[in-house]
Amino acid sequence: MAASSSALTPHVAAIGESRAHGQRGISNPILGMILFIVSEVMFFSGLFAAYFNVRLNATQWPPLVNEAPFAPFQIHHDIVLPAILTTILVLSSVTMQLGVSAIRRGDRTGFLRNTGITLILGLTFLVGQIYDYTQLGFGITDTAFGSTFYTMTGFHGAHVLGGAIMLSVVLYRGMAGQFSAKHHDAVEATSIYWHFVDVVWIALFSTLYLL
């Protein structure tokens, strides 16, 4: 059998293209992102499991400090700011999805605008969250209440930051013209990640502030 590059089978020659010859369904990077998000969901599940375990085993929740109720633990009384932040984050998911729809139909301007707004909303959320931290009046060392609260919201915030970085990269690449209606996997993947971050927040907000 003569050795020459033309003897390579089509599927081998298609390395590097996510839409490989004969391939159907979602692309590799998007499937990869979905699976990665599955692992992230399990990570947060560990933290949620810890929270519920600690809470249900406690004789009193929020716990007493020095035998007396500790006012800063009454976070469900001060939910105005967190509720606003929740609204901001949900809105950012809407704008993210609008951006995805835009690039799917080749509307680069609409995509850039919506992605930009999403990034701004995401950063606003982060700033608001940090501000809220300064107003809470308890820290990570203040009983299991503090430990669970800061660990869960803190890791969520880290994920928002990660998402913001992804959005920045996507924005930059978009401005450089690297996305089209046919090729914009990074945008789809980022949007899926961003929605995940939003859903986790809704679960966190409901669990920590409302329940």
Partner: protein, 545 residues
């Protein structure tokens, strides 16, 4: 049919630079293998330290502080830097080849997954010169692992290292799953994939869903130790020590299936080749593998039967049930041997050795599913026996079978069979000598993790025997190491398919070219290379699916 190898371009990277920067799944698989081999020797040294100290009553060689580090790091190294990566390395090397793909789905992430391993191993081992490595047992229960009781950076380094290993594993799992779902060659339907690929797929699901829970536990422990958290710290209000056990074992139990399923996959490739007949009950294997994976998430609290904090009947039932798919596999393997024409190469010896030894590990595991029996032998040497029969007699035997089987493919040279057989005999005898007596020690009440024991408890002779066995294993490794050295340059050239095997990796040169395949044979069954070899024979033999 021989494959012609295309000459690489002149600017192709070579040497050390290539190995450090490669994203080729084959080189990465080899890197995983050598990293695991080196750490196997290190973990083995820790084991020898433990066995040397326990050979006789009285502390002769080290104090308790050192001993506690030895058994903690032995287990940690063996689980996270030896067994899991050995199998991930085989997966890396073989999965793309076996499904006819040119590489893994995300080659650069693949490289990252590997390099996190030597880095994290270094971090964990750095505990030794920095005031003491982790010494709370690989299970690191709280409150013992809290900063009040485990002072120094050892435990923190252990936590950081394991978080990095977890990241490596999770990224690897994503890679394997996308590769398997999306990059199979035309004709390679899911039910024509080699069983080894199935086991990697199910293992990857376990890694994806279990490892992040360990990561969350490690982070919570780190916060307890360094930021005054009170997740598991019972000295503070709200801290729950049992919470650690639950979150830890939720991962660490599926981890044992992560460590055994690919080894079972290896055995499922080796046995048919050297029996000269197909794997008996291919579909049963696939379903049994999936069943073990699913059930594996429902049994974690059987490690906590003696805590008084577990709903015992449920976990006992699920633990008993998981014996069923495991048994199905055992019977199917034996049926593969039946009416075959068995060739006892070293790889085959290790595969059959796996069957005998894993059987023992499975049976003594069934003992443990019975809660009252577990009440008697929990945290004794009976458990140590169980662990090592399944992980050494199972996983490591599977790893060696895989090494002898695929070494020719990876390096283009045959390993020496005589040295291989000496290696096998030494390991088989040594392994039984070391771990069988531990059943008896445990039944008579010898706890684990003790640096020394009462000279009047009746344990002296069995401990000495186990130590002799441990050194037998160590000595038995020497022919293997010598084998690698002498055959590296001077070994017999392997050719494409030295074993007359069945699956696609044997349809290309040894070692394969960077792009894996010059051309692929038609894929019409789970044995495409076998089919091609016997295409001229009566069609009855190659009954396709």
């Amino acid at each position: 049919m021989a494959t012609t190898v295309l000459r690489p371009a002149a600017t192709y990277r070579t040497g050390l630079y290539e190995w450090l920067t490669t994203t080729d799944h084959k080189k990465i698989g080899i890197l995983y293998t050598f990293n695991s081999l080196i750490l196997f020797l290190i973990g083995g040294l820790f084991a020898l330290a433990v066995r040397t100290e326990l050979a006789q009553p009285g502390l002769q060689f080290m104090n308790e502080a050192t001993y506690n580090q030895m058994f903690t790091m032995h287990a940690t190294v063996m689980i996270f830097w030896v067994v899991i990566p050995f199998l991930a390395g085989f997966g890396n090397y073989l999965v793309p080849l076996m499904i006819g793909a040119p590489d893994m789905a995300f080659p650069r992430i693949n490289a990252l997954s590997f390099w996190l391993l030597p880095l994290s191993a270094l971090i964990a081992l750095m505990g030794f010169p920095l005031g003491g490595a982790a010494a709370a047992g690989w299970t690191s229960y709280s409150p013992l692992a809290q900063s009040a009781f485990s002072k120094g950076p050892g435990t923190d380094l252990w936590i950081v290292a394991l978080t990095l290993v977890g990241t490596s594993s999770i990224l690897g799992a994503v890679n394997f799953l996308v590769t398997i779902f999306k990059m199979r060659a035309p004709g390679m339907t899911l039910f024509r994939m080699p069983v080894f690929v199935w086991t990697i797929m199910v293992t990857s699901v376990l890694v994806l869903m279990g490892t992040p829970v360990l990561t969350s536990a490690l982070i919570m422990l780190y916060i307890d130790r360094n930021f005054g958290g009170s997740f598991f710290n019972t000295a503070l209000a709200g801290g729950n020590a049992i919470l650690w056990e639950n979150v830890f074992w939720f991962y660490s139990h599926p981890a044992v299936y992560i460590m055994i399923l690919p080894a079972m996959g290896i055995v499922s490739e080796v046995l048919p080749t050297f029996s000269r007949k197909p794997l008996f009950g291919y579909k049963a294997f696939v379903f049994a593998t999936a069943g073990i994976g699913a059930l594996g998430f429902s049994v974690w609290a059987h490690h906590m039967f003696t805590t008084g904090s577990v709903y015992l009947p449920f976990f006992s039932l699920m633990t008993f049930l998981i014996a069923v798919p495991t048994g199905v596999k055992m019977f199917n393997w034996i049926a593969t041997l039946f009416r075959g024409k068995l060739r006892f190469t070293t790889a085959m010896l290790f595969a059959v050795g796996f069957l005998s030894l894993f059987l023992i590990g499975g049976i003594n595991g069934a003992f443990l599913a019975a809660v009252p029996v577990d009440y008697h032998v929990h945290a004794t040497y009976f458990i140590v026996a169980h662990i090592h029969y399944v992980l050494f007699g199972g996983s490591i035997m599977g790893v060696f079978a895989g090494l002898y089987y695929w070494w020719p493919k990876m390096f283009g040279r045959m390993l020496n069979e005589r040295l291989g057989k000496i290696h096998f005999v030494g390991i088989f005898i040594g392994m039984n000598l070391t771990f069988f007596p531990m059943h008896l020690l445990g039944l008579s009440g010898m706890p684990r993790r003790i640096a020394d024991y009462s000279p009047t408890a009746g344990w002296n002779d069995l401990n000495l025997l186990a130590t002799i066995g441990g050194f037998t294993i160590a000595v038995a490794m020497l022919p293997f190491l010598w084998n690698i050295l002498v055959t590296f340059r001077g070994g017999e050239p392997a050719g494409d398919d030295p074993w007359e095997a069945n699956t696609l990796e044997w349809a290309t040169s040894s070692p394969p070219p960077p792009y894996n395949f010059d051309h692929l044979p038609p894929i019409r069954s789970e044995r495409p290379v076998f089919d091609q070899r016997h295409a001229a024979d009566a069609p009855a033999i190659t009954a396709g699916h």
